[in-house]
Amino acid sequence: MVQSLVEPQSVADISSAPALYVKAYRAMLLARVLDDKFASLWRAGKIHGGVFLGRGQEALSAAIGVALREGDVFAPLIRDLAGRLAFNEPILDGVRTYLGSTLGPMRGRDGNVHRGRPGEGQLAMISHLGAMISVVNGVLFARRMKHITGMVGVATCGDGATSTGSFHEALNQAAVEKLPLVMVVADNQYAYSTPTAQQFACRSLVDRAVGYGIPGYEVDGTDLAACLRVVGDAIVRARAGQGPQLVVAHLLRLCGHGEHDDAYYIDPQLKSSALGVDCLKRAEDFLRQQSWADAGTLAQWRSEAVHQVEDAVATVQREPPPDPFTETWSVLATARLAEGNEVNARS
C-alpha cells in the first residue's frame, strides 16, 4: 500500500550501459571543473554576487540530465550545473550569466544560477524556493492540452525547500492532474546551516510520496550507477504515463552554501560517513573497476573539460558588459503598453 520503498528496478543493470555512464560522468566532470572555475573567479573578484556549487551532487544531477530528451522540461536549482550541462545547456550560458555578459541568455539582467531558456525546456529559476515546481506542472499541463505525450518534466530541490508551501501545492497538483513530473529531492543534510533535524521530522523525505498518492524512491546520491538507475526509471515511468514520481537522494553538500560560506558547521561525522563520499571520485573508481576508462583516459577527459572551460571564460571575458544607456529599461512584452520609459523618465 505504501510505496515509499525503492521498487524493483525495471531497467537493465547499469553495467550493461557504459555509454550512458560515461556520458553522465563527463557531465559531472565538466560541471566540477566549471564550478571550480566559478569559485576561483569569485575569489578573484571577477564575479558579483553569490557563487553556488554543486559539489557532491553531480551524480544525481547528471543522472537527470542524461535521462532527459529534447522536448522535456527541466527546472534546475542552484546545485544542478551537471544536470544542466547534460541536458545541453551551453557552457557559455553559465559563464556569460555569472560574468554578466549581454550575449548570455540573461543579458546581465539576472545572474549566476538564475539562468535558463524557458522556450527550450530549460526553466530559469527564481530564488524563491519551491516556486519552480508548479511552473513545470504548467508546462506539462500545456503539453497535454496540445496532445503531446511521451515527455516529462523534472524539478529539483533540496531538503530545505521541501518545507515550503509551494513544494506541497505543486506536488499535490501534479498528483491530482497525473502529470509526468519527476520531483528529485537532494537531501544534502543541510539547508544553508540548518540540519535536517530542524527541517523535517519524518524518517526520510520519501515518506512524503504516499501522502500525494505517488510512488517514491530513495537513492544513494553518491553512487552514479544508482542515480542513473533510480532517476532513469522514474523518468521512464513518468514518460510512460504513470504520473508523478518522487526521488529522494541522500548525500552531503561538499561545499559551503555559497562560496562566501566556509560551512564550519557541517558535522565531521557526516563528512566521514558514507554520505560524505565524493560522487565524482566514486564514479572514477567505478569507471576504472569496470575498465571503462583507465587513468590516461580520465586525465584526457579532465584536460578536455579544463580546455572547454578555459575557452569559454576567455571568450566571455572579451564580451561587452551591459550598457545602461542602450538598455531598454522596459519590462513589458506588449510594446504599446510600455509606459516604462515614460515612468522612468517621469520618476
Partner: protein, 321 residues
C-alpha cells in the same frame, strides 16, 4: 435584451475560448459548477477539457498558469476572491512579472480577481488589490467600471502578452447592465471621459466611477459641471488623458476604494502635480476608503468606502477653494 457586468465577463471568456484554442480557464470550482460567482457558468460543458477545477492551491494555480504561458498557452486564472490572491502573490509578482524581462519569453496570463467591498462580506472577501500589483514592474492592472469594459478589456487581457491582473468589482456583477455587448472599444491603456465637465476633474476607476457619476449629478443640480475620468487601467496609467482633463478644469479630486497609503489616488496626484503643476488652480484632493480593514456590518461598511455623498463633500471643498 440586457446584459450584466458578470454576464459580460462570462461572455468574454466564452468568446476567448472560442476564438483561440490556446485559452483555458483554471480555478477553484470554475468547471461544472461555473465558479463561485457563476462567471464561468456553462463553459466547462461548452469547451470540454478547457475549463478546469483547481485544488485550493493558489500558489500552484498561478505557477501552473505561468508554465502553460511559457508553452504558448493563454491561461485565465480565477481567484475565488481577490483577497485570496495574497497566497499566490509571490508567483505573480516575482515569477510572472519578471519572466519576460529576465528571459525574453512572454508570460500572457490573466488573473481574474473578484474585487471590492460588498455589504456583509467583511475584511477578507472585500479587498481591492490594484495598488499592490501595480507597484510591481511587469504587470498590467485593469479595473473595468462598465459592462462594455468588462467585456472588451477581458478579451484584450487575454491577448496581451504580459501578466494581466483583471480587477472585477463584485458590486457591479449583478446590478450593472448594458443593452448589448460592445463591438468596438478603447484600447487598454487609455482612460475614458465618463462625463464631461468644466469645473472639476474627478479621476477614478472601477465601482467608484458610478459613485462619482452620481456625485456629479448631485453637483450638477447646484450648477457645477464635473468631469469624471474613468482610468480603466491603473497600470499603465493614462496620465495624458488625466492631464488633459485637469488642463480644462483646473481642479482635481481622485477617488479610490482602496486604502489611502500608496494607492491609485496618490499615484495620480503625484503625477499630475509633478508634471502638470501649472494646470491646477486649487490643491488636489483625494478620497479613499478609511485606513482600517473592510468592516462586516453594513453600517460600518457604508461609512468605510467613499460614496456619492462623501464625494460630493470632497468635491465641494475643491470647488470652493
Amino acid at each position: 435584451m440586457s446584459i450584466t457586468y458578470l454576464e459580460a465577463i462570462r461572455a468574454a471568456q466564452a468568446r476567448a475560448l472560442a476564438d483561440d484554442p490556446r485559452v483555458f480557464i483554471y480555478g477553484q470550482d470554475v468547471g461544472a459548477f461555473g465558479g463561485a460567482f457563476k462567471a464561468t457558468k456553462g463553459l466547462a460543458k461548452e469547451f470540454p477539457g478547457r475549463v478546469l477545477d483547481a485544488p485550493i492551491s493558489e500558489d500552484a494555480m498561478a505557477g501552473l498558469a505561468i508554465g502553460a504561458a511559457i508553452e504558448g498557452l493563454r491561461p485565465i486564472i480565477e481567484m475565488q476572491f481577490a483577497d485570496f490572491s495574497t497566497v499566490a502573490f509571490n508567483q505573480i509578482v516575482n515569477q510572472a512579472a519578471t519572466l519576460f524581462w529576465r528571459t525574453n519569453v512572454p508570460c500572457p496570463i490573466t488573473v481574474r480577481l473578484p474585487c471590492g467591498a460588498t455589504s456583509g462580506s467583511g475584511p477578507f472577501h472585500s479587498q481591492t488589490m490594484e495598488a499592490i500589483y501595480a507597484h510591481y514592474p511587469g504587470i498590467v492592472v485593469l479595473t473595468p467600471a462598465t459592462v462594455e469594459d468588462a467585456y472588451s478589456m477581458l478579451l484584450e487581457a487575454v491577448v496581451i502578452d504580459d501578466p494581466v491582473i483583471f480587477c472585477e468589482h463584485k458590486l457591479l456583477y449583478y446590478h450593472l447592465k448594458a443593452e448589448a455587448l460592445p463591438t468596438e472599444a478603447l484600447p487598454v491603456g487609455k482612460a475614458r471621459i465618463a462625463r464631461e465637465g468644466r469645473d472639476l476633474t474627478v479621476v477614478t476607476y472601477s465601482a467608484m466611477v458610478h459613485e462619482s457619476l452620481a456625485a456629479a449629478e448631485v453637483l450638477h443640480s447646484d450648477g457645477w459641471e464635473i468631469e469624471v475620468v474613468d482610468l480603466r487601467s491603473v497600470k499603465p496609467l493614462d496620465t495624458d488623458t488625466v492631464m488633459g482633463s485637469v488642463a480644462r478644469t483646473g481642479r482635481l479630486l481622485c477617488v479610490g476604494e482602496a486604502w489611502p497609503w500608496g494607492g491609485v489616488t496618490s499615484e495620480v496626484i503625484a503625477r499630475v502635480t509633478c508634471e502638470g503643476y501649472d494646470l491646477l488652480d486649487a490643491p488636489p484632493q483625494r478620497l479613499n476608503a478609511k485606513d482600517t480593514p473592510v468592516p462586516y456590518h453594513p453600517n460600518l461598511w457604508a461609512a468605510h468606502r467613499p460614496t456619492a455623498r462623501s464625494i460630493v463633500d470632497a468635491a465641494r471643498k475643491v470647488l470652493q477653494y
